[in-house]
Symmetry: none
Subunit: 218 residues, 4 copies
DNA sequence: TATGAATGAGTGTTCATTCAT
DNA sequence: AATGAATGAACACTCATTCAT
């Protein structure tokens, strides 16, 4: 997603490139915070990974905490952006919903940092995201979208009435998120391989079924 | 769960009490790790909170890492213990399953540390839990239990056939866990109060419905 | 003294104005060094306060240390300049001396940066001022002036003989300087308001008396 | 004064000695802050000079700022203590006052750190000393002492009436303090050796004369 | 069993200064 | 003349852990 190769001097040997430098820092920070959390990540390592002078982190982001805030905000924005690109308006509601389940699952699977960043942010009681106005703004659209989809399903005669769009949304996220974030303890608790292609395929199928049964008109 | 009052000298003025000291350390550690994660928790603070000399932590647990391992292991054991105490064998399968959904939700709600500890342990790829033989052992029983419950439901004619007990289990956990662990970012993303009595009640109701629709024979 | 309004582009919109830029740097530096000392002052803040690019400081002054040296040298030159403007040759020696006491006090009071700069420079063993030839040159005049004043007083029959002009000079400075530079600890040590109009007036009166009694022929 | 040789293991090879360690830190800190001010002093160097692990500074004093506060407070307390030890009650008032002038001069001369510490503390607007209750308490006695001495002098018929004890005190301090603290710039400004034995002797003599002329009944 | 002093490696952050344009 | 990005050394401070008693 963001592994656009950000090599130094990729723009014709120039080393003084604010955009590039700050982007490289952000990418390295995302990796570090996703892997070790806010407290566990090391500023030194982020700088080294970004191939950037440590001082630049403070130049562009002010502090470790604000760097983390930016990472989290960006992660949410990227997620919403990908979601918006999903064109499901021309599909029957039931297929559109299934598409949404698949998209959510795929996004979590392909962007494992997103999940651990969200976990970290919740450990910190969302104090960074609370200040992220842009994220807050884009959320309204997103809840509205589910609301219309559900209404459309009802009109089409395939969805039952009275479903709370927020709870449907949460459930779609939950059944994918939980499986993936807890895949390590899950392998122990459930005594099963969690991440083979077959296992992943099966889980996605199960999730689709769960959601469809949840919304389907009896 | 762990609010047993562990006062110093509660056993007749004696200050040397291995059991008590180590228990007080464990309780303080649980709080600290749950609140700040493994990297964010401070050994000094744990000792101070436990009202115990810092050296004692090393005496009883060897290292911060092993203390964390013990905390996580204990948390899992406590969860399983509570679950085992749940008597659902005499209920119709459908009611038994509903009871399980309610129990899981309640446990997560009343033991918020459990959730954050599990998150932390997964951030560390379950490396501590992998060594916890007792936890591994108790899990078989627990998966078996769901398997029999599903089979019983099929026999009773209320559950559909072919459901994977592991996926059902995961789904029950997921829909409660996700809502609670992400309640801080959720309040922002879904623009809604997540933790009022009404909201919690509504979510539990939604979850019960989700699971029943998932397993019910059409 | 230095509150000449040094607004950017005050000379018809031109942004390239060596004199103005360097003057603005000097003024900001004076404030910073006076408030925080050499070690405590920040080059970044000086640049920001001067509304000037940080690089300009190095362009005009070479280093923080040389900037400080310039500030100190300028402060001394300004003091001497003000002193020279004082016309006391036509007054009776006794009144001239009193005038000098009042002038010194007023200067310290109205230019508090002068005092802290001198303190800072002494903390650094006057290593900057040692190189300031202009300052060194102007000092001879100044000691000579006191010498002639004392001689004049003796001739006029009001001053006693044998007074060392340097010690008189030092004493005049001391009794004002100490009171003002130590006004913060003084308020604690002497348990008294130091900077009210009444307190300042009283101190000046006391100082005049001290000096007159010191020089007066019995 | 405080150069009691604080060698490690001076108490029979024991290295774990809280009193000794904290005293060694304090002594090294006093030297460092006196020489470089609060901002200019280096915690690393203080630790090295004290032959102590840097961590110990934070163990005993919490922060650089609080260490500085302790140094300043101790310096004031030491000064007052020395002053109290001065027995002048049995001398004629005029001799007692002269003794006080000599004592003040000698103390400043032999404890040059005291002067620079006071300068530093005033640069910081006495924010540390403001919290030093013990210092504040001991000051009343000290002002009272001068008041009684002046009253005694009036009774003895040698001092004039109406002298403010605080201003006399300030003046006694001022004429010694200023000469010594500004000895480096003074050497340049007054073009004279300031610290030879002769110069110091002459200044003390001048100071005694200044004070006696100030208080003497005409 | 228990204590508080002590440690060394490292933590986030700041500094004056220089480079490229 | 002027700019903002970039640097590396140093900064105050913190960490989990061990030592001496």
């Amino acid at each position: 997603m963001d592994d656009v190769s950000l090599k130094k001097d990729s723009l014709g040997g120039q080393t003084r490139n604010a955009k590039l430098t700050s982007a490289r820092i952000l990418a390295a920070a995302k990796r570090a915070f996703a892997e070790h959390g806010l407290a566990g990540a090391r500023v030194d390592k982020i700088a080294a990974d970004a191939n950037v002078n440590k001082r630049m982190i403070y130049h562009y982001y002010g502090s470790k905490d604000r760097l983390f805030a930016t990472v989290v905000e960006t992660a949410y924005l990227d997620f919403r952006l990908a979601e918006e690109r999903l064109d499901i308006n021309n599909l029957p509601a039931i297929e559109a919903l299934e598409e949404l389940v698949r998209f959510t699952w795929d996004y979590f699977l392909k962007n494992p940092e997103f999940i651990t960043l969200v976990n970290s942010e919740n450990l910190h009681r969302a104090r960074h995201l609370k200040k992220a106005k842009q994220v807050i703004d884009t959320n309204r659209k997103f809840v509205d979208r589910m609301r219309s989809l559900l209404q459309r399903g009802v009109k089409e005669g395939t969805f039952r009435d009275g479903l709370d769009p927020v709870h449907v949304n949460i459930t779609i996220a939950a059944i994918g998120y939980y499986y993936l974030t807890n895949r390590f303890t899950g392998a122990i608790v459930y005594q099963r391989e969690m991440m083979t292609d077959d296992a992943l395929q099966a889980r996605l199928q199960f999730n689709v079924e769960t959601i469809l049964r949840l919304v389907r008109k009896d």
